[in-house]
């Protein structure tokens, strides 16, 4: 059954009330419940002025805020910062380069965690100077770093690896092609590049090569035959013949080198490296042969920590 509702005209008082509510000022809690609250009108220029003032204040604060910068002391000759000769004491900021010539040297204070001496014919850039990361780039030349800080706070980038401070003192050389040599005199340094890591303790060195990254660490008193064969293995495709020389020449403390080689030789050669290591230093408690040959990370870590007492 269908019902047609009769049409009825709205009384005029309704429309009058609506018009009145559109024009009267609104106050909190008052006004028509179905109409949105109207914002008071302000001239547009006041808003623009407020925005400009905020921006100017922000720029002023940014400009006046001291930038992190490291102190540099001139040791010899005339080093330059940002291509300008530096005074006896100067500052170097992020993005700036320090360069020495054949007769100049400088010393950078890296925040309050250590110092870096810049040798002659060296070019370095400050990459980061933050509380959680202090970073230098070595384009060429030689630096000597002495750092007293929690590990992984100070980094030196080269074209073929980043030296990661683990609590140490070391020298780092790099040529313009990116080939380099890290030599550690205190503590440990990790040399890292594209997933490859070499852990280098005091008394040991590690070469780097462009496009290859860090080589295998070796103690500085290892035999010249071992060191030459290792360089062949790392950088010249020396393969099994070079490896055989390294194994034959290895002493107890050269298990540093052999430990790194475990993960760098072909799987078919790995057991030979393992056997030589065990000949030199009996396998410690907690290290199982199968897990070591499978390169189990926790097994290798424990083995390295035990071997370190023999290095």
């Amino acid at each position: 059954m269908k019902f047609d509702l009769p049409l009825a005209k709205a009384p005029d008082s309704i429309w009058t009330a609506i018009e009145a509510s559109l024009t009267e000022p609104r106050s909190s809690g008052s006004g028509h419940p179905y109409l949105p609250r109207r914002l008071p009108r302000r001239p547009l220029w006041i808003a623009a002025l407020a925005a400009a003032a905020s921006l100017a204040t922000a720029i002023f604060i940014w400009y006046r805020t001291p930038r992190p910068a490291w102190e540099v002391v001139r040791l010899d000759g005339s080093p330059s910062i940002a291509s300008k000769p530096m005074a006896a004491v100067a500052k170097i900021g992020v993005g700036q380069w320090l360069q020495t010539d054949a007769s100049s040297r400088a010393r950078i204070s890296v925040g309050n965690i250590g110092t870096v001496e810049i040798a002659p014919n060296t070019r370095v850039e400050v990459v980061a100077a933050r509380p959680d990361q202090q970073r230098l780039k070595l384009a060429r030349g030689e630096i000597s770093a002495s750092v007293s800080a929690p590990p992984r706070l100070f980094f030196v980038d080269t074209p073929a690896g980043a030296a990661v401070d683990l609590g140490c003192a070391y020298t780092m050389k790099a040529d313009p092609d990116g080939n380099g040599l890290l030599r550690v005199t205190l503590g440990w340094v990790s040399l890292e590049w594209e997933g490859r890591e070499s852990l280098v303790p005091a008394g040991a060195s590690c070469r780097t090569r462009q496009k290859t990254g860090p080589g295998t660490p070796y103690f500085d008193d290892a035999s010249p035959r071992l060191r030459n064969a290792l360089a062949d293995f790392d950088f010249n495709g020396g393969g099994d013949p070079a490896l055989a020389i390294v194994l034959a020449e290895a002493r107890i403390r050269d298990t540093l080198t052999l430990w790194h080689l475990l993960s760098r030789v072909d799987p078919t050669a790995r057991e030979g490296v393992y056997n030589r290591m065990v000949d030199l230093v009996p396998l410690p408690n907690g290290v199982e042969k199968d897990r070591a040959l499978q390169l189990d990370p926790s097994t290798l870590k424990h083995w390295r920590e035990e071997l370190a007492w023999k290095w």
């Binding site: 007293s148 800080a149 929690p150 590990p151 683990l166 609590g167 140490c168 205190l186 503590g187 440990w188 990790s190 852990l199 303790p201 005091a202 008394g203 920590e305 370190a308 007492w309 023999k310 290095w311």
Partner: protein, 156 residues
């Protein structure tokens, strides 16, 4: 009789275990006390003839005590000097001379206890650091005659 023999053997084993018969010291380079990538005793930064000491087979590290002194022979005269012993992690220490012993020959005499167990070591010091192949590990603190013998061997 066999039963008596077994009881005596068991008692002897128990006694030696209680006395910490296997407790000993291990000596290594200072970097052996620092674990790369590990957390994180602050790095102990001293120069010179530092070395690391590890307590082996001590069943409770809070019962460990380690002491030592540097003993030297300088121009024919015996001399002693203090050393610094810093804990790197439980049971592992870094030993450093307080001042460089640049003259004469020197050996660090260490003595350690783990409860009632004792161990000792004589660690000769050379120009490049401790002389690993001349380290003597002992089941107790070294005696003065033992120290004298080591010093004389370093001073031909």
């Amino acid at each position: 009789m066999e039963m008596v023999k077994r009881i005596v053997i068991c008692a002897a084993v128990a006694a030696s275990t209680a006395a910490g018969g296997d407790f000993s010291l291990s000596i290594g380079n200072a970097f052996a006390a620092l674990v790369p990538g590990g957390a994180t005793a602050p790095v102990i930064k001293k120069t010179g003839n530092q070395f690391a000491v590890r307590m082996q087979n001590c069943d409770s590290q809070d019962r460990v005590q380690l002491n030592g002194v540097a003993e030297g022979l300088v121009q024919g005269q015996r001399s002693s000097a203090p050393i610094s012993i810093d804990a790197a992690s439980p049971g592992i220490y870094v030993v450093s001379p307080i001042r460089a012993q640049s003259e004469g020959v020197w050996v660090v005499s260490l003595s350690a206890t783990c409860g009632s167990a004792k161990a000792g070591a004589l660690v000769p010091i050379g120009p490049q650091g401790f002389l690993r192949d001349k380290v003597k590990l002992l089941p107790r603190a070294a005696t003065q005659p033992e120290i004298d013998v080591v010093l004389k061997a370093l001073n031909p």
